[in-house]
Symmetry: C2
Subunit: 273 residues, 2 copies
Amino acid sequence: MNFSDLLNAQVDKSNSLLCVGLDPDVNKLPEQFQNTPNQLFEFNKAIIDATHDLVCAFKPNSAYYEAHGPEGVMQLRDTISYIHETYPGIPVILDAKRADIGNTNDQYATFVFDYLGSDAVTLHPYLGREALEPFFARKEKGLIILCRTSNPGAGEFQDLMVDGKTMYSHVAKQVSQSWNIAGNCSLVVGATYPKELEEVRAIVGPDMPFLMPGVGAQGGDIKAAVEAGIGAKKRGLIINSARGVIFASSGADFAEAARKVATETRDEINKYR
Amino acid sequence: MNFSDLLNAQVDKSNSLLCVGLDPDVNKLPEQFQNTPNQLFEFNKAIIDATHDLVCAFKPNSAYYEAHGPEGVMQLRDTISYIHETYPGIPVILDAKRADIGNTNDQYATFVFDYLGSDAVTLHPYLGREALEPFFARKEKGLIILCRTSNPGAGEFQDLMVDGKTMYSHVAKQVSQSWNIAGNCSLVVGATYPKELEEVRAIVGPDMPFLMPGVGAQGGDIKAAVEAGIGAKKRGLIINSARGVIFASSGADFAEAARKVATETRDEINKYR
């Protein structure tokens, strides 16, 4: 099953556009996970168990695992395996923001898909489509290209005007018109910029899903973001919240607190679908 | 000592602008490293021993290690430690092409500098300077920003015209005029595009070093690249060759063959300095 079908099936099953970001910043883990073996995996496992029926996807960010070296990379793989084995049908997006020249991307694709078993990956557009060929060769996998990111300084290059249009709108156009032959491309468009989100939706049409970071801790407004970005059949958004959900409480009730915030966020999103 | 000083000292010591790319593609390793423990590290060790006096830097590309999961990451760290312990003074550039939002880049900086012990890292410009703050906080480390890459399809976005100038020239201008406050920024400019290289050198002035991939297997012409890109005091270029050097022979003589090609490449570069 390809990534779009997997995603849509899970959206319908969970009635949710919420994606929970598994970014286990070790300094923020509840006390019970401090100085314990496999702390990242064990924390994730509790979050996954508490939220699996409320999400359309999980999105671990590779950086939070790599920071711990080989031990972290192992726990990233274990986290992805745990999701696939325990809750089959939930897609896992690896937020890795990779992109190099072709023969090097071949190695990254091996890491992301063969070693880790991810269903989708985030990619930088800067080297162009040709360099990303080893990712495109994985037709069943989701390729999620950075378009308009959620950070405050995103506009430095993304807002530069090219032929009267912004750089990010050129990325959106290229990806939707030239790159998306196998129908497996998505875009990253931050919830913190609803005007830009609406513009990108108009460029690519209703069918392409957007990975939308920026709600929760980053402050993006859910109503504005959903209304600006929603796609066909009231789907087409993968709305990520990481810190806002997984660190909702730093106490022993962290899993219940995560479930509570995830439920509220899902329901809030659904109000505006 | 900061990265520029480290680099310049090694350039002078080795009388070389050659950087050897440690990209141990497992399918190309000589037979003696097939199916042996720590094959990436052991191969690298032989290459490092054979070429250390001929280089201004070594550049492992993270992808070739990540493809092997935790075992690969460990061998990447061991490779970097080996260089620092055995041949102190040779800078190690981690080619990782990272860039995420700020709090995530903090984790990547931990991986690249604290866990691996790299002296410099390659970064994507797309999210802007603000997102890269955790890297900029490491003032003594080299930050090497992708500007005009060496791949055939590099121009898809990099050549788009913004106010009558290319996207890559805007990246060069921003990095040299706004980002380089601590003097630790460099740019990636491919040897395969000497005209663009000359243009970028004119924008940033003579002092900023360029990491220049694309000679050797990628076919960039050394004479044209050196003449177009050389900086102050006949330095300012880190000319990378990976496959062309490390896989010069696939036989038992691979280390001697690598030394021979590295010597020839260094001397060829020096002819045009």
